[in-house]
């Protein structure tokens, strides 16, 4: 896979077409749905009226220039947005048909079902590799009847890290490379068995090799879960996602310009701004 930036929409579409899969081909419950989501930071209207349906078992890529509200949007999907003191929002986010913002919702249970992988790998520094993977069980006080060792191996295998770390599970996570740390973070979020995994530019700090490994991991994971990934890398969006949503802030609040199957978004987008962006003419 070439890593240069003069990406041709058509070649991207080709990659995407090979990857595309009809939603619902793997029925996994009813997925996640954002309805008319707005977000504010104080009086700054950062995101306006985003409605987006993430069908179960699909991978959706969010693309768009910096500052258009992709991170803000993804953080409204698992109620991390509210940690910013000035934050406000409007709209609904439905998980399996239920609004996660409904009164009386246990927000910790929501975050258990909608996991998150951050831009910068953030393994817990005081814990070993093994402890990191199982940290979620401890933090969420889950009594798992599963064998811990089996779970550990399964999560690390699904995250594509098992072979590299199986002999040093007791070592501290700080000694891993950036790419390994990020896969460890993915393994960590898998241990609590979320239905949805949100990834905010998970590869932006990684080398191409590690990036490809994480993309493999994403493809594997998408068989069993719903994935939303923010990325600045068009090839990555084309390689891993079934659907692509293009966000843009044209002076005002960020909006979703267009969403569609990834191959169509890269071959014949409906909106000219999408066309310009995916062909590298701006952004």
């Amino acid at each position: 896979m070439s890593t240069d930036n003069s990406s041709q929409p058509n070649s991207l579409a080709g990659v995407a077409a090979a990857r595309h899969r009809e939603p619902g081909s793997a029925p996994l419950g009813s997925g996640l749905e954002a309805r008319g989501v707005h977000a504010w930071f104080g009086s700054h209207h950062a995101l306006e009226g985003v409605s987006l349906d993430f069908a179960a078992g699909t991978v959706t890529a969010l693309i768009g220039p910096s500052g258009c509200g992709k991170s803000t949007f993804i953080r409204t999907l698992n109620r991390m947005h509210e940690f910013i003191p000035s934050a406000a929002m409007a709209g609904e986010v439905l998980l399996d048909g239920k609004d996660i913002y409904a009164p009386g919702t246990d927000v910790t249970k929501i975050r258990l079902q909608i996991g998150m992988v951050f831009q910068k790998p953030n393994p817990f520094p005081s814990m070993t590799i093994g402890e990191n993977v199982l940290a979620g069980l401890k933090l969420a006080q889950i009594k798992s009847d599963r064998n811990k060792d089996e779970l550990l191996e399964e999560c690390l295998t699904r995250a594509g890290l098992w072979q590299e770390v199986k002999d040093r599970l007791g070592a501290h996570a700080g000694g891993l490379s950036g790419g390994q740390q990020q896969r460890l973070c993915i393994a960590r979020s898998l241990a609590v068995n979320p239905k949805v995994l949100l990834m905010d530019e998970p590869c932006s700090a990684l080398d191409p090799g590690s990036t490809l490994r994480i993309e493999d991991t994403i493809s594997q994971l998408s068989k069993t879960m719903t994935i939303v990934i923010v990325t600045h890398n068009m090839q990555q969006a084309a390689r891993v996602s079934d659907y692509t949503a293009f966000f843009l802030a044209d002076g005002g609040p960020g909006q979703m310009v267009e969403v569609g199957p990834t191959n169509e978004m890269f071959s014949r987008p409906k909106d000219e701004r999408t066309e310009n962006y995916v062909s590298g003419r701006f952004g």
Binding site: G36, A90, D106, Q255, E272
Partner: protein
Amino acid sequence: MTTTTIPHHETVYPKRPWKATKADLIPVFAALAVAALLDYAVVAITPMKGKLAYALLFFVFGAGFQMALKWKKLGRRAAVDSLAGSVAISGAVIAFVPVLSLLETTIVKGAKGLSLGFFIHDMSVANYQSPLSEGGVVQAIVGTLYLILIATAISLPLSLLTALYLTEIKGKASGFIQFLVQAMSGIPSVVAGIFIYSALLLTTSLRGSTIMAALALAILMIPTVTRTAQEVLLLVPADLREAGLALGATQWKTVATIVVPAARNGLITAVILGVARIAGETAPLLFTLGVSNKINWNPFSGGQSALPYYVWSGLGDGTELGIDRAWSGILVLLIVVLSLFATARIFGTRKVKIK
């Protein structure tokens, strides 16, 4: 270039669905009210008596009811979370109540003697048995401001440089200096006074003056400011230092233009903590300050007054009027110190200018 019009949305208002609503709060307050009633009843019918019993039982009932509410609504994990929250709130209350009570006593007892005259007169026209309408604290205010200013001027550069040595240069003597700083912070304040007295006053013809007392106070201030400055400098991310060095800067330039400004607010806190450490100290002044009942503008010679010393003298006088005067002195000291802190915060906090 054609632009598709973005569909117009009806006006949507920002909401905070994560904030507790009135409907959520009603059971919370109802539970607290029931806890208060139960508290009252239990104290009435059992041998437990006194404010402490009220407070303790209110905490137990209140926290218990909140836990039960959470448990019913969200389960055991949420109940434990609620208990931890209740313990934290109670801890804050336990720590804060004595402070409030202290403040209240000071204001109630001190305000009686305050008048404009109290702030502008000195003690050359009165003594500690005079009514509080005669004489005042102006010389002590001047003295205290002088002491704080000079002690800060001496200790701030020394402390900052020491902290920079420990965090930036990390020289061979670091361990030893760290040990000394630690040991210095344990010095009883009277020892600092005696040290200056025996080292500088006893053996020379120098007499007690502002500068001598300020030196004694600086001894107390240095370890506090150094330790705090060190901690805040350590919080500056290593990336920033490397970014400066990678631009070709020398270590000195990096520290002066990047590290220290990044730690600015923390360094101001360090100075505030240092001033708080010394502002109310009396013991180091006893042998070093001399005495003066008038304003002495010359910090290098002649005795000086200071607010803690003024308070100490009033209390030492033992008469009712003397003690009242001491309370007023305490209130003035509080006002002076709080105004200094407020000034430091207002002028020290960098305002980010957005053009």
